[in-house]
């Protein structure tokens, strides 16, 4: 069989495919790097240390950061994510955009969907004005525990976390937490949940005129349904802040900033 194939496709023809292979490797090098860092390295460390990725990150932060200083914690996180392993936090570049948006709007009630390790929670909490309240929703209990530790380490209140899937939390927000209106919603959980969650938020009536919804990673990995819904519904003034994926230079990504306008 092998001889058959070798006679069928001669070496010269196979060599003619070399430019194609090179093209693919060069053009998509960032994706290969990302694959290596996010999947292969993680699997290797998982096997060798026996800890989960989040736990490793927490250990690193705990040993390297100054407790009570959110700035230092964020920096340590960034360092770990860019040098050691990859965790899809919001990252420093997009984080700056988020800080700017937060300082522009000065929201008082903030909902965060998907806190993961607590990086973005700390980032938001740091930028909030006095008297503001932040609710952070995380589905995975282990991650939530780590996020709580991180938040505590940064010196913020630890009762912000809601450990539950986002689609269950949103309808109960008004009843359980006594919320009347959300000024700012940050989405960074499962990309597939963006649209249903947004629709749930619209349905719950928590979004008022001027409420801001910020969704991360709308271009890569991407949330096409979410964007389609936003475009079609006509409820929002929206724009996409173009940036690159966190801790990576060549992969383009964006954050969608929606300002709720209500039904006209």
């Amino acid at each position: 069989m092998s001889c058959c194939i070798s006679t069928m496709v001669s070496g010269a023809i196979a060599l003619a495919f070399l430019p194609l292979v090179l093209t693919f490797i060069i053009r998509y090098r960032y994706y290969f790097v990302l694959f290596y860092r996010a999947v292969l390295v993680r699997m290797w460390y998982d096997c060798t240390t026996g800890l989960s990725r989040e736990e490793r990150a927490f250990q690193y932060v705990l040993t390297h950061a100054i407790p009570g200083d959110p700035e230092s914690i964020l920096e340590t996180f960034d360092l770990w994510c860019s040098k050691v392993e990859f965790i899809s936090n919001i990252g420093p570049k997009k984080g700056k955009i988020m800080d700017r948006i937060l300082s522009e709007h000065c929201p008082l009630t903030v909902l965060e969907l998907g806190s993961h390790c607590g990086y973005s929670t700390v980032r938001i909490a740091r930028a909030l004005p006095l008297g503001a309240r932040l609710y952070s929703v995380e589905m995975d209990a282990i991650n939530a525990a780590i996020a709580e530790k991180i938040i505590r380490l940064a010196g913020f209140d630890d009762d912000t976390l809601i450990v539950s899937p986002s689609d269950e939390v949103i309808p109960r927000l008004r009843a359980d937490y006594g919320l009347e209106r959300l000024d700012f919603v940050f989405m960074d959980h499962w990309k597939k949940c963006y649209r249903p969650d947004l629709q749930a938020l619209e349905g719950s009536g928590l979004l008022g005129k001027g409420s801001v919804v910020l969704a991360d990673n709308v271009l890569f990995p991407g949330a096409p349904n979410f964007l389609r819904h936003v475009r079609k519904s006509g409820l929002y003034e929206w724009k996409i802040h173009r940036a690159t994926l966190e801790y990576s230079k060549g992969i383009r990504d964006g954050m969608a900033e929606l300002v709720y306008q209500g039904i006209k």
């Binding site: 006679t7 069928m8 496709v9 001669s10 010269a12 023809i13 060599l15 003619a16 495919f17 070399l18 430019p19 194609l20 090179l22 093209t23 060069i26 053009r27 998509y28 994706y31 990309k191 271009l219 890569f220 990995p221 991407g222 949330a223 096409p224």
Partner: protein
Amino acid sequence: RAKEKERKKERDRKRRRNVARRASSARKEGKELEDRPGREERRGRKKRDKEGKGKGGEDERQEEVKNDTVAKTLKNFSNENTRKLEQKEIEVVGEEDGDTEEKRKNGRSEKGGKREDNGRGETVEKKQKKKRVETSAEHESSEEEEDEEEKVGEEKPEVLSPEELEKLKEEVDERKKLISTLRGKPWPMRKKLLTLRESHEFVEKYEGALGKGKSRKLYAYKVMMLKKWMKFQRDFENFKTACVPWEMKIKEIESHFGSSVASYFIFLRWMYGINMILFGLTFGLVMVPEALMGRPYGSMPRKTVPRADEANAMDFAVLWDFGGYAQYSVLFYGYYNSQRAIGWLKFRMPLSYFLVGVGTVAYSYMVVIRTMARNANEDGGGDNNSFNFSWKMFTSWDYLIGNPETADNKFASITTSFKEAILEEQESRKDDNIHLTRFLRVLANFLVLCCLAGSGYLIYFVVRRSQKFALEGLESHSWWERNEVNMVMSLLGMFCPMLFDVISALENYHPRIALQWQLGRIFALFLGNLYTFIIALMDEINLKREEEEVLKLNMTIWEASLYNGTLGVNSTAPPITVHPADIPRGPCWETMVGQEFVRLIVSDTMTTYITLLIGDFLRAVLVRFLNYCWCWDLEAGFPSYSEFDVSGNVLGLIFNQGMIWMGAFYAPCLPALNVLRLHVSMYLQCWAVMCCNVPQERVFKASGSNNFYMAMLLVILFLSTLPAIYTIVTIPPSFDCGPFSGKSRMFDVIQETLESDFPAWFGKVFSYASNPGLVLPFLLLMVLAIYYLQSTSKSYKQANLELKKKLQTQNEENKKKTKMAALKAAMDLEEAQKAWSEAPRQQRNNNASQQSYTGEKNTVTGHLVSSFVFVWYLKI
């Protein structure tokens, strides 16, 4: 007064009655009027003018027409009368009224002319107005007086009075003006359309009413004909646009993808036109005559499939390879007979074959060069760097875009280009990174060169191997091995440009420049491939010729054996007839070359279409429909939709054309094949672009690229005619196939024609003319002429540039002057204000010192201003 009114009414009625009678004779007399000298016409117009205003003018006219020669004096007289004493004038008029009969006799012709003019509409109206301005003020005043008088005594007529007519005419004029200026009005479209329709209706309804009686009918007829003519012209224009093939498709693509993609399709269409003509030439003058009038299939060895191949000559695989029956047909060189004249038309087949071969190339040269020259005229000289930001500001929008997505892209690209330009400006002042950029550019070129060398070596290797295979016999090898050369060439031609594209990202050029670099690189790649192919072909030609020599020897032996074997002693017996399929024949290298080219074209076309279907269509389908159930965004992320690859497509087209030019001499079917290919690819690519591609992220205008394509086409044309001419001139044609068999060189056919078909003196003249002593000076003269023309055009360009510069400086000068004037005016104003404000104070205080201080201050300001202007000037 009352009496006067009565009289006037009566006169009016009489006149109206007369008018009908007069109108009937107007036609005849109008002509007469035209012959009259201008003086009278002028007067007539003046009169008409007055009549237009009312009946006051009418009075005067009637008075005037009594006698043509004394009309002027009479008129003046009447004017004076009116000014001095109204009553008297009226009496005069009354007297005139009495003898209307006489007046009518004299003035009939004039009135007829007037009526006609009246009907003629707005143009005359304008003339009248112009005339009116010319008339003296004295006349005007008198006329006005008369008008006033008339208005008092006006009564409603039953039919259209001249005044109403006038009003109507004015209104019609107004509507017409509205129609012509409607386009520029800042109204919504719906209102425009409504107004347009209404005005058209109005004009149509009342325009006819302006004429009277028979002339009115004629006028209506005229207007109708004019309208019909205009409509016809418009329809004809539309028809002409509709006749331009694929115009609508290209426009649609242009609106979606910008002009750079459209430029490819326009180029494709242009190419199609050229190929149609090439096809017409070869088909009409070579293929059809041979098929109709030449000897039929099977009559001689070159027109018969050899016995060994007969069994599978009709197999699809063989036909697809252009062997078997396809090889022994009009499609290839070898089928043609060397018979000097064929059919009842005495068609000179070999001569025609040769001339068509030369003519197609000559025609292509002519067209390409002419198009280049025409395009070159469009871009006048000048530097593009001087007003970079102004250019970007005012000219970067592509007004043909009609698709919101493309418009968004264009918008984004303009903003980025602004950002980049600003950055560039900043960087050009810093220029610390220039070494890195240079290094990257050099590196990119080095990589590309490596890639080119690698691909060249690969093709060389493959060609060598295929020759080895050919020597061993093709039957023992698989299909892959037999088609290795074509496959490798196509694959390299497909994938290497992608690699170049990736490499060119290093260089960070503007997309237009990047496109040109990309084009140049792919050009080099294709050229290398093509020339490797040609060199391999040359080797093969030499092999075939050796084979031919051997065969020629064998042929004589075979013939001898044939005769010896069958015939005994008697040599007077009729010659034996052997079936043409059994006669041994030479390898016919020309047909082989033609076949190679045709195969190359076919495989190239197939690769292009398959790439299109898989690379674009399949990908688009997958991206579109897998996107519903995929973990990342396929549309915006990794595979995405493909962009239209302008450079690759253009070069594919150009090289394809080069191969046609090269191979058309040996395979007359090539232009036909190419026309087919271009036709199909026009539709296929239009469809593929519209359904599977997305607009480029950086849409840019392709204003200058057309000439770039043309220049490449010219180079390719030159490079492809080189080998063709080389083979024609140096290699003797095969002895037993093709129109030139039996001759030592192909161009001997010209010699032959001159000797046998033209009178002797012509041959002599030609031989003198082709004498090197005559040809060389002629060539020299041509070179000199070209040099002269080139230098003059260069000097013109220089002059143009100088003029441009002059204009610029003049502009700046003017600006400066106006600025100075403005400053001066401002200063004067200030001074005046000061003087005004200080004057009372001075009066009050009478303080001399203050005055001197003011003067001083003013002079100081003047100095300041002048120095400022001077500094400003220096800066510029």
